[in-house]
């Protein structure tokens, strides 16, 4: 694969405990990674994930806090139940299960997000470009995507 795989990163705004990590995510992400920050993983509607998939994301990463550490107490548990099932469901209709990955981060996990993203990218390279479920019509040639 010549180009780096496109990754849609959904990040709970509380899950990166280190300001350095958050700064890296906010300002220094490589441009194959598209960041969507949410107030909690519980806010990640499966439709967001679907939107990323239909739009051609080669992989989707969801990062949130560990159980009992959710800023909103149980947002992450609800999210995990729903999104994990959504992942299984997408796999059922042809979006490989490995293309969706969860990272649940802890206080000590400094630098973890970079490592996880790098490992994910490696795996996606092996999988190749996502083709199934990529249905959203592209905007006209030469136009910048909004």
């Amino acid at each position: 694969m010549a180009e780096r795989p496109g990754i849609a990163l959904f990040q709970c705004q509380w899950c990166l405990f280190s300001p350095t990590d958050q700064d890296w995510v906010d300002n220094h992400l490589p441009n194959n990674i598209y960041l969507t920050k949410t107030p909690c993983t519980g806010r990640i509607n499966p439709l967001y994930v679907l939107n990323a998939v239909q739009g051609g994301a080669d992989g989707v990463m969801i990062s949130g806090c560990l159980p009992e550490q959710c800023h909103f107490v149980t947002g992450n548990i609800t999210a995990r139940r729903q999104l994990e099932e959504f992942n299984d469901f997408l796999n059922h209709i042809g979006y490989e299960k490995q293309r969706v990955r969860f990272v649940w981060l802890d206080l000590q996990d400094r630098g973890m997000i970079q490592k996880e993203l790098a490992a994910f990218e490696e795996e996606l390279k092996n999988l190749g470009r996502a083709a199934n479920l990529v249905t959203r019509m592209k905007v006209a040639e030469g136009e910048q995507n909004a």
Partner: protein, 316 residues
């Protein structure tokens, strides 16, 4: 077949004693293949009531369309009873306002399969336990019941109403609960590519008429995500993105709420398969959370329950 007179006399009793305001059941339609859902309000109305395996719809879909406080009686089969329970769990109706006349169900005959067998212009359909006699323009056809059953009914494991107030007829043997699981496993044994090809082929016929939504008892949102304009969740037209998103999200919103009644599939004017999607979700709910929709009127579906027991499943 249950005793229709027994159903009728119970219905008449409920209406004449004023125990309920309206009785939900079927009446004969204009054509033999399509009995119509009907609302009976007086004991005399009940004379029109019919019960047959051609009753295609899940009557629970009308519950949320009646005033919330109204007292309603319904003739329910296994799946309809479970849908009613699911609606009670979701507080769409109080169980106290319902009186369920339960009928053990021998499975719904798919009118499309009948037409495929007997051809156009079906004049009459007579069923017995094992066989169905169809008369059409081209002659008489004696067909085994199994061959005409709707796909979802072939996999049904709870044909008996689980919480009826009165049961008409003898309970049937519970069928093999593995059938649904096997169907899911069979599909999942296909390659990713084949599964997507199947999904795409089904979804691309969709005309977005939303009959599947309207026929489903659990689709009662005042505003469906596809009708939402700001933000627009998905493409609005009959484009691949729009059609696929509709199929994915409609099914996904049924997680832990679908009773595998198949009403969505039977309503579809384009013969699109949909239960292979919802069966997968039902299967997962059973495997992961030991939950089956509508077996009682108290247990909340998994997505409405949060528990720290999930803790150890985070690090997968």
């Amino acid at each position: 077949m249950p005793d229709i007179e027994a159903i009728k006399s119970e219905a008449k009793r409920l209406l004449s004693e004023g125990m309920v305001e309206v009785m939900l059941a079927f009446k004969a339609g204009e054509t033999p293949l399509h009995p119509q859902p009907a609302f009976f309000r007086t004991p005399d109305d009940v004379d029109e009531l019919v019960y047959s395996s051609l009753n295609q719809n899940n009557l629970a879909t009308y519950l949320t369309r009646l005033p919330k406080e109204s007292k309603v009686s319904m003739v329910v089969r296994g799946c309809e009873n479970r849908s009613v329970n699911a609606l009670v769990v979701e507080k769409q109706k109080s169980r106290d306002n319902l009186y369920l006349i339960g009928v053990p169900c021998e499975g719904i005959l798919d009118w499309r399969k009948i037409v495929a067998k007997a051809g156009e212009a079906v004049k009459s359909v007579n069923e017995s336990e094992q066989e169905v006699m169809v008369e059409s323009r081209s002659g008489y056809y004696l067909v085994e019941r199994k061959e005409l059953l709707h796909d979802s009914c072939m996999r049904c494991s709870h044909p008996n109403p689980v919480s009826a107030d009165i049961l008409i007829g003898e309970p049937l043997a519970e069928s093999d609960s593995n059938l649904a699981r096997e169907a899911v496993e069979e599909f999942e044994a296909l390659s990713v590519k084949e599964r997507y090809a199947w999904f795409r082929k089904e979804a691309e016929r969709c005309i977005r008429c939303y009959a599947c939504r309207e026929a489903c008892p659990m689709c009662y949102c005042t505003e469906c995500f596809v009708d939402h304009i700001e933000p627009r969740w998905t493409e609005s037209g009959a484009t691949p993105a729009g059609m696929q998103a509709w199929h994915i999200v409609r099914a996904f919103h049924q997680t832990g709420r679908c009773t595998s009644c198949g009403a969505c599939e039977r309503a579809c004017p384009m013969d699109i398969k949909m239960t292979y999607l919802t069966e997968k979700l039902n299967h997962d709910m059973k495997e992961k959370y030991n939950f089956e929709t509508g077996l009682d009127a108290q247990t909340k579906p998994p997505f409405a329950t949060v528990t720290l027991d999930d803790k150890n499943r985070f690090m997968v």
